[in-house]
């Protein structure tokens, strides 16, 4: 019986749209990155403007390069390759269009709200709840379109690239939903339902796996499709790709806690994260080797073909970052690297090298096919490659040096047993030259991006008046599958297992395959999450730890709005140099009312966990006005606007009410939060004025922020012994 042959065409218009979005948002995201790099080299580049300050722009940079640049690159490659691998047009052109415009609208919403200070304070999950809902809706539309395409495919076997897309789509959905569960306290304000240790755990379960399932697995899918296309030979080992896939899916989801070593996270979770991170070496390097060896017998093409040059460096960068990631997850290494620029260098090896170069290589390969015109200039593509490669090297060499310098200076003791660099700003000043080298490296990368854009633009300008739409033919899949090589009768269970029939069966059953992926992800996640949430001894309560006052809560929200957590941690690790510098190490029970947790991941400025009472209120007033007047060589921007902006006392009630709904025992404040806040602000403002400070700041935002900072770390100083038996707060 001959199969019925059907004719159809691919939707390349949507691929072209995503391609342009990749370039435009990539350029925007990288330019914002350059601005914040300049801000670290000199605070002058904050321009004394609130919405241009580092704390507000840093999340814009990370969101733009991850979700706008890399996101659109993923969609470009996935829409192109999925249709061809499955031999069918996308399930719905309408859903494709909705996905494209919806995603761009989300990016615009992020670009507006983040500089205005609307943030959830969770890294890579900063966007507020209405945008989170929009992301979920658009992602579901993408998923429906993708799985609908799978259902209508004309190729029985699902190629390994599609497996990686499936894992990415379902896992990102799970991560996004569970990390963003929050209670709205206004149109663009919410508090996560989790607090303290549990919030930190959820955040880094999400954060690490956002790297895994947004910046790694979809790009691996692209690698497994576009590398063979560019090299004109099949992937080196299909078997290795199967191994690569399942081990990545099994292992990655466990690794998140390595972001929280030596914090108040329970030690068992931290160890578990480390073990699984170390195991990730195997699949990651297996995948890298598989990618590079796809060029077997074709290495001579690398010298002539810029696409292959980009791919080779991209896969090498993948290998480097996935070697370094497990190494950084080892606790002893992590104790040096955590909170330093080393992590920034690690991230940029992956982002600029792996994600950036995979994207550039893919688009150079796609552009002549999508625009149906020859690439404008191969020489310009070569130029782009060398400029960007040199830019990456400059960037990471400088920032690795900065990170290691910083880590070593923090932990250095002199011969008398005292901290060798007790003044934190000394460790900042030492990095400034390296920050300027980073600016140079980043500038080169952006110049390369402009060359890339010009080359693609000129290629597009040479397009035909109307695009040719090739008609493709493929036989329709028969309703029933007949295995061309059936297992011999009586072969037995072992023979069936060894012959891998079961897996090959999954490979043509996308629903079963997807369920297996979801199971791997969910089981691993629950195995880590449930004990963290349910074992009481994980979060021993501390009797003296009380909720923030309404004014302190308002101040905490300002701390979040200004993005202070992007530069300041609130977590003293139980390491001698940390306790010498900052004071008593942080305990899990200190954070039970922290919705969200604000431990931070970086110390551009000093840790603030024990800052309460360290300086008088007036010091803070002056410091916010002009940091350099009190700390010479500080790179902190001025927050003088906080002394001018009126504090919204009436708005505090809704925030207290939301906290009460989350279980924070607020007592009388439930009835009169604004009144209590006004009273505390008035008392503080009078004391500041009496000590020679400015008068009339009792109704300004700065008073709330000072109230919050003066509270930090104070409760523990009055603490009775920790009581594990008291149990975690429900």
């Amino acid at each position: 019986m001959s199969a019925h042959v059907e004719s159809f065409s691919y939707d390349d218009a949507i691929v072209r749209k995503f391609l342009w979005a990749t370039f435009i948002w990539g350029l925007v995201g990288m330019l914002v990155g350059l601005v914040i790099a300049l801000q670290l080299a000199s605070p002058w580049f904050n321009f004394d403007t609130a919405w241009l300050s580092f704390g507000r722009l840093r999340p814009l940079h990370t969101n733009a390069v991850i979700f706008a640049f890399a996101g659109n690159a993923i969609f470009t490659g996935a829409y192109y390759s999925t249709q061809r691998l499955l031999k069918t047009r996308m399930f719905s052109d309408g859903l494709s269009s909705f996905h494209f415009w919806g995603w761009q609208a989300i990016i615009v919403a992020a670009a507006i709200t983040l500089p205005l200070g609307f943030t959830q304070a969770k890294e890579y999950a900063e966007l507020e709840w209405p945008i989170d809902i929009a992301i979920a809706v658009v992602w579901v539309a993408f998923a429906v379109n993708f799985f609908g395409t799978l259902a209508r495919r004309r190729e029985r076997h699902i190629y390994v690239a599609i497996w990686f897309y499936i894992a990415s789509i379902v896992t990102v959905a799970i991560l996004h939903i569970f990390n963003n569960l929050s209670l709205p306290a206004g149109l663009l304000k919410s508090y996560p339902i989790y607090a303290g240790v549990q919030d930190a755990f959820m955040q880094w379960w999400y954060g690490h796996n956002a790297v895994a399932f947004f910046l790694t697995t979809p790009f691996l899918g692209l690698m497994y499709y576009f590398m063979p296309k560019a090299a004109e030979r099949p992937v080196y080992s299909y078997k290795l790709s199967i191994l690569h896939f399942w081990t990545i899916v099994f292992l990655y989801i466990w690794a998140g806690p390595h972001h929280l070593h030596y914090t108040a996270l329970p030690d068992w979770a931290s160890t578990l994260g480390m073990l699984f991170s170390v195991m990730l070496w195997m699949p990651s390097w297996g995948g890298m080797i598989n990618g590079l060896l796809t060029l077997r017998g074709a290495w001579h093409k690398v010298a002539e073909e810029p696409v292959l040059k980009f791919f080779v460096v991209a896969i090498t960068a993948y290998g480097m970052s996935t070697f370094e990631g497990p190494m950084l997850s080892v606790k002893s290494v992590n104790s040096l690297a955590h909170y330093t620029d080393w992590i920034i260098a690690h991230v940029h090896t992956g982002a600029l090298g792996w994600n950036g170069f995979m994207t550039f290589g893919m688009i150079y390969w796609l552009a002549p096919r999508l625009f149906q015109a020859p690439l404008f200039s191969k020489k310009l593509a070569e130029l782009h490659f060398w400029i960007a490669t040199f830019g990456i090297l400059l960037y990471v060499a400088a920032i690795y040096s900065a990170g290691i310098t910083q880590g070593l200076m923090w932990r250095a003791f002199d011969e008398t047993g005292r901290l060798a660099y007790p003044d934190f700003v000394e460790t900042v000043v030492r990095l400034i030259p390296m920050y300027w080298v980073r600016v140079a490296g980043g500038t080169l990368y952006i110049i390369g991006m402009c060359v890339f854009g010009y080359n693609i633009l000129r290629t597009w300008m040479a397009r035909p008046k109307t695009y040719d739409v090739p008609v493709v033919s493929a036989p329709k899949l028969p309703a029933t599958y007949v295995d061309p090589t059936p297992v011999p009768a009586g072969a037995g269970l072992w023979a069936r297992f060894a012959a891998a029939r079961w897996h090959h069966r999954w490979e043509r059953l996308p629903l079963t395959f997807t369920v297996m992926v979801v199971l791997a992800v969910v089981v691993a996640s629950l195995a880590e999450i449930l004990p963290t949430f349910l074992i009481r001894s994980n979060v021993p309560t501390i009797a003296s730890v009380k909720p923030y006052t309404p004014l302190e809560l308002a101040g905490r929200d300002l701390y979040i709005r200004e993005g202070c957590f992007n530069c300041h941690s609130q977590m003293v690790r139980p390491l001698r140099h940390e306790t010498e510098r900052w004071g008593e190490y942080s305990k899990p029970g200190e954070f039970v009312y922290d919705h969200p947790f604000l431990w931070g991941s970086r110390r551009i400025g000093p840790d603030l966990a024990r800052v309460g009472g360290k300086y008088p209120d007036l010091w803070h007033v002056r410091h916010f006005e002009e940091p350099q007047a009190l700390v010479q060589n500080s790179i902190m921007p001025s927050y003088a606007h906080l002394g001018r902006a009126p504090l919204d006392f009436e708005g505090i009630q809704a925030r207290v009410d939301a906290m009460v709904m989350l279980g924070v025992p607020y007592g009388d404040a439930v009835r009169d939060a604004p009144g209590q806040a006004r009273e505390q602000a008035r008392t503080m403002a009078e004391a500041i004025a009496a000590s020679g400070g400015p008068a009339g700041i009792g109704d300004r935002e700065v008073i709330a922020l000072i109230a919050y900072m003066q509270r930090l770390g104070k409760d523990i100083k009055q603490a009775p012994p920790v009581t594990a038996e008291a149990g975690a707060r429900p």
Binding site: R84, A161, E232, P234, L272
Partner: protein, 64 residues
Amino acid sequence: MKLSDVMSAAGLSGYAIVALLLFVIAFLAIVVRTFAPGSAARHARDARLPLDDDEPGPAVRAGE
């Protein structure tokens, strides 16, 4: 009795090792399954899927 009582009393100090062992076993199963003999031809065919999409080549400049 609450779930938190059960979990708190479960003594999960060796949990990391148990999880490690489980996933090493899963990994070994995948290795055995993947590298078992008899599936080479099928995998070779699967690996060629990206190259079999009958796409026209890229546009080239005259004379190239």
